[in-house]
Every structure is written in structure tokens, then in C-alpha cells.
């Protein structure tokens, strides 16, 4: 009985914490007014918020059911894929010029996103005319 009670409280606390972090992430998404700073908010939701929800799910399944480890896999796949989508959004921002121009890299010529081949530049010129 006490074990189940403890499990219930632990699940509830995890759910509340997760919901709190997701809420803060959403507030950040709405509050910031620059595309690059906005990008920071979803990465927060993806890690701690979802992690807390999954932890709650695991505790609940172990206390009331057979127990499940699938949540660990969800976590692992999320951690592998979240940075890639963030990276793509950052690249789009740089492409569109929606943010301050990044400083030049110290050793190389330019950033790979800004490294447009000459043929493409000519095509863009033709399209303008």
C-alpha cells in the first residue's frame, strides 16, 4: 500500500515538473522576438520536459503494471534527433538572413551554409534579371 502511494506521488511530481518545463519552454518560444533565440526554447522542452514525462510513465508502469523500458529508447532517439532538427532550423535562419551575420571563421574561408557555389550565384543573378 505505502509502495503504491509512494509511486503515485513520484509519478505526480514528475508529471508536474515536466509540465512546468514544457510551459517555460513555450513561454520562451512566445516571448523571444528573434528567430535564433526562439530556437533555444524547443531544445529545452525536448530534453527535460519530455524526460520527466517519460520518467513518470516508467515509474507508473513499474508500480502498477509489468514495467516497461521503452521510455529509455524514446529518450535515446529523441536525444539523437533533436539536435539535428535544431541545426537545420539554425541553418535556415542563416540562409534567410533572419539573424545577425555570424563572424568569419578564423581558419577557413566561410561557413558551409554561406558557401554557395558560383553556378548557383549566377542562376540567382539570372532569376533577378
Amino acid at each position: 500500500m505505502t509502495f503504491e502511494l509512494f509511486g503515485t506521488y513520484a509519478t505526480a511530481i514528475c508529471l508536474l515538473l515536466g509540465a512546468g518545463f514544457v510551459l517555460v519552454g513555450t513561454i520562451g518560444l512566445l516571448k523571444f522576438n528573434d528567430p535564433m533565440t526562439r530556437l533555444h526554447a524547443p531544445t529545452k522542452v525536448g530534453t527535460i520536459g519530455i524526460g520527466m514525462f517519460l520518467l513518470a510513465s516508467m515509474i507508473h508502469s513499474y508500480v502498477y503494471g509489468d514495467g516497461s523500458l521503452h521510455e529509455l529508447l524514446i529518450m535515446a532517439f529523441l536525444f539523437v534527433t533533436a539536435p539535428i532538427s535544431a541545426n537545420f532550423m539554425a541553418k535556415v535562419n542563416i540562409h534567410k538572413g533572419a539573424c545577425d551575420l555570424p563572424p568569419k571563421p578564423p581558419q577557413d574561408e566561410t561557413w558551409s551554409t554561406l558557401d554557395v557555389p558560383v553556378e548557383d550565384l549566377e542562376l540567382a543573378e539570372d532569376a533577378k534579371v
Binding site: H40, F79, N87, K91, S112
Partner: protein
């Protein structure tokens, strides 16, 4: 003997990883499932071996575990810091900055892990790589001193990754 082992396990870490993922997917920790996972791991690594001609050899798994623990802890701490920034710092006082990190790492796998770590630890997002791969572009949400962010990333993560992929 070592030849047979090498033929059977061209990528032992991947084989192990696939077996573990299989067992967790089945939610059933029995000997049968473990053996089946191992068989799958061997077949898949043999079939896909063509597509990874160069792979890092000699990854130190023990150091990898310490690294994962450090990153997990940093994610928790930094999340709370960023939540505080979101709730208390007004937009006008926010100091976002580009941070350029010169890379000592050369292996693509190591750079990928470093970029992923930087994005996962809140407050920084890795945005781009320079055309020759010598530096990494990172966007910081709120920092007074971009150089300090750079030094911390280099000291805390890159140094450890260099030891892992030695």
C-alpha cells in the same frame, strides 16, 4: 581465431548496441531474446559494412560512460538556468551572441557528438560548421562573455571527446 571474430563482428560496439535496443524493444530480458538480438546485430552489421569504410577504432567505452553522465547532469543544471533566464530576463536585456569554436577534433563522428552535446545542453545551439571543418559556429542565448562560453565548451566537452576518440 581473432580473424573469425573480426569477420563475425566488424563493428562490435554497433552489434552490442543493436542487441540492447532489441531487448528493450521486446521488453523481455530473456536469454532467447538476447541471442536473437545478437544474431540481428551480426546480420545488420555485416549487411551495412559496405557503407562505413572508415570508422573510428578504439573508442574508450568507460570514458564514454563518464562523458554521458556529465552531459546528463549538465542538461539538468543548464535547463534550470535557462528556465530562469526565460522567466526573469526581459527581451531588451537579453544578450544573444555568436560563439566561434576552433576545433581540435578531426573525426566526423567526434564532431557530430560535440555538436549534438552543445545543442542538448540548453543555452547553446550549434548552428554551422566552417567549409573545411576547422571551426564550429554556436549560438548562445544569453552571455556576457562569449570567450568564456568557448573556453568552457573546449575544456569540458572537447577535451574529453579527444580522450574518447584517441
Amino acid at each position: 581465431m581473432t580473424r573469425i571474430l573480426h569477420w563475425l563482428f566488424p563493428h562490435p560496439v554497433l552489434t552490442l548496441l543493436l542487441a540492447v535496443v532489441w531487448v528493450i524493444l521486446q521488453n523481455d530480458l530473456s536469454a532467447g531474446m538476447a541471442v536473437f538480438g545478437l544474431i540481428l546485430g551480426i546480420i545488420i552489421t555485416k549487411l551495412t559494412a559496405v557503407w562505413w569504410p572508415e570508422r573510428p577504432n578504439g573508442i574508450r567505452l568507460g570514458k564514454m560512460m563518464t562523458y554521458a553522465a556529465i552531459v546528463l547532469w549538465d542538461i539538468v543544471v543548464a535547463n534550470i538556468e535557462v528556465a530562469w533566464i526565460v522567466l526573469t530576463v526581459p527581451n531588451t536585456k537579453l544578450r544573444p551572441a555568436w560563439v566561434v569554436i576552433p576545433l581540435d577534433l578531426r573525426q566526423p563522428e567526434a564532431i557530430t557528438i560535440l555538436a549534438g552535446t552543445i545543442t542538448l545542453t540548453p543555452g547553446t545551439v550549434s548552428a554551422d560548421l566552417s567549409d573545411e571543418g576547422h571551426s564550429l559556429l554556436v549560438h548562445a542565448l544569453h552571455t556576457e562573455d562569449p570567450d568564456a562560453v568557448r573556453d568552457e565548451i573546449k575544456d569540458r566537452y572537447e577535451r574529453r571527446l579527444k580522450e574518447i576518440f584517441a
